[in-house]
Symmetry: C2
Subunit: 319 residues, 2 copies
């Protein structure tokens, strides 16, 4: 509790009543981190649990943004509201996020049933994953029934962010489906739904066979969800309805067999662990100052003490 | 000091005498981390400081491996030895590293003046950057005068690894040179040398102009190194000689004005900080067990305590 709490409480209450600029301001607080973000978290957390999260990931150029846009159009045609978080962990700058906003906002900017927001790395990579979870919870708490989380790129951080979804959609292209690539990115393991996007290009059947072959090598129990494979053409919107139905089927399946609840619990456990790591990193930054720090560093720079021994010396007595 | 120290000391002594299989085993110990890696670090560290490190980075598909191979061929034509570390942080699996080895080793595998090794992520991302630094120091200590560190991809981790070099080469392609892309990856800021690779394709002049324009926006002092821009064709080896000369010029410049020494000191300071962070993370993993951990997690899962407050509660009394 600090001086800003009443102001943030008011913002949250406004956001719950549908005030989008209040919502945008709260998201900025989350993105910025620090005490205000913690205050948002405390207010938001008890009100969460009803929103559904769809992660959309895949190699750069696979057409994720276009597909997401087509999916939004389909969801809106059913008169359902939808929120989108576009996450760009590869960008240490904010330029990417602004660009992403511009491109993606175009079609849906004036639709009050759609809320779109980009988030980019501010400093610590792990921080982006945590901030994404907070942002998703905020959207949940203010009443968004479904949030699409689109990640750019397929590094480990992107996979980590995509993993924090209830349904994970992995977008590939015809001809892209060689098993080395998919394995390399770690996508095969996390996909609930494979989308072969740009399916108007040649090679769809081969890619489908590749994916099916890969799935056959995996060891699914008879009750477990077996990843769906479907085709879309993001630019025309073809297949967006099938994708939305597949998401619904996966949701129903995991609600019924209890795996959704398990996945959500595991996610929270992982998040708590990440927060504890961050807290300790913060402590490390506090430790790494002062005369003792300078003295140990100088020994290391003089090559009389190696970095690992220097770290041990520095941490001696801290815990 | 533990039971394995005499064995590792022997391996290090053998590696210093030119035993490549001993060197490969030491690199595996570094990659694996833990106590053995620390033992290697302690042995190696006092003997380092004479080797030179060249980082080679750029977007996927820019032709870094081919260019690196051409550079190796040129360095060998001058009868100088060279080591290469190919780092793949985007791969959570070892498949990528093995593949990388295969492709790259082909041309130089039988040349005793070339040592090539791939490293992939084993678990923690920060760990790969630290392991790369250790591996580079080991190569330095066993007498390699120059190590090329090639990173795959341009995420934040890749930039972090590339940054740990004495000369940073950023590889772009004709037509790729739009400022948004380069800025997005954070490459503009870290490049000492820009290479426009695949310069047999159209668009070289435009890309050169783009890069020059970007450099003009930067504020270089008159004494500071101003990034070189040069063109290569990796597949034919054209321009590899110019690249090697440019690396030599950058090296001479930074040795003369003292910025090389400053950069190396800063690197060690950053490394020490990273190690301390890792030690604290390790401590976090120790904390996150036991009955108290379970109780706090259960409150969080019941939505009665938010994740950040749970973390505070967990860390209460730890430091």
């Amino acid at each position: 509790m600090d001086g800003r709490t009443p102001e943030i409480t008011k913002l949250f209450s406004d956001a719950c009543s549908g005030d989008r600029s209040a919502l945008a301001r709260l998201l900025s607080l989350i993105e910025r981190g620090g005490n205000d973000a913690r205050t948002v978290s405390r207010l938001v957390y008890p009100k969460t649990g009803s929103g559904y999260i769809v992660g959309i990931t895949g190699a750069p150029g696979a057409g994720k943004s276009t597909l997401t846009s087509a999916l939004i159009a389909h969801i809106r045609s059913l008169d359902q509201p939808v929120s989108v978080l576009a996450i760009d962990p590869s960008s240490p700058f904010t330029g990417g996020a602004i660009l992403g906003d511009r491109v993606r906002m175009q079609n849906h900017a004036t639709d009050s049933g759609v809320f779109i927001r980009s988030m980019a790395t501010r400093g610590h990579l792990g921080g982006l994953s945590l901030a994404t979870s907070e942002a998703v919870r905020l959207l949940d708490a203010v009443g968004s029934p479904c949030t699409l989380v689109e990640t750019v790129g397929v590094g480990q951080v992107e996979v980590e962010i995509a993993r924090n979804a209830d349904t994970i959609v992995v977008v590939v292209n015809p001809g892209w489906g060689d098993s080395v690539q998919a394995n390399k990115a770690g996508l095969l393991e996390i996909a609930d739904i494979f989308v072969i996007n740009k399916a108007d290009r040649p090679g769809v059947d081969q890619t489908r066979r590749d994916l099916e072959q890969m799935l056959e090598l995996s060891d699914f129990t008879s009750e477990a969800w077996r990843p769906t494979i479907l085709t879309t053409v993001g630019t025309t919107g073809e297949g967006a309805d099938k994708l939305w139905n597949a998401i619904g089927e996966h949701r129903a399946h995991t609600q019924k067999d209890g795996s959704l609840a398990k996945r959500r619990d595991q996610r929270l456990r992982n998040e708590l662990r990440s927060i504890i790591e961050r807290r300790l990193e913060h402590r490390a930054r506090e430790i790494c100052t002062g005369e003792r720090w300078d003295a140990i560093q100088n020994e290391m720079l003089a090559h009389t003490r190696d970095p690992w021994s220097s770290a041990d010396e520095m941490l001696h007595g801290v815990f």
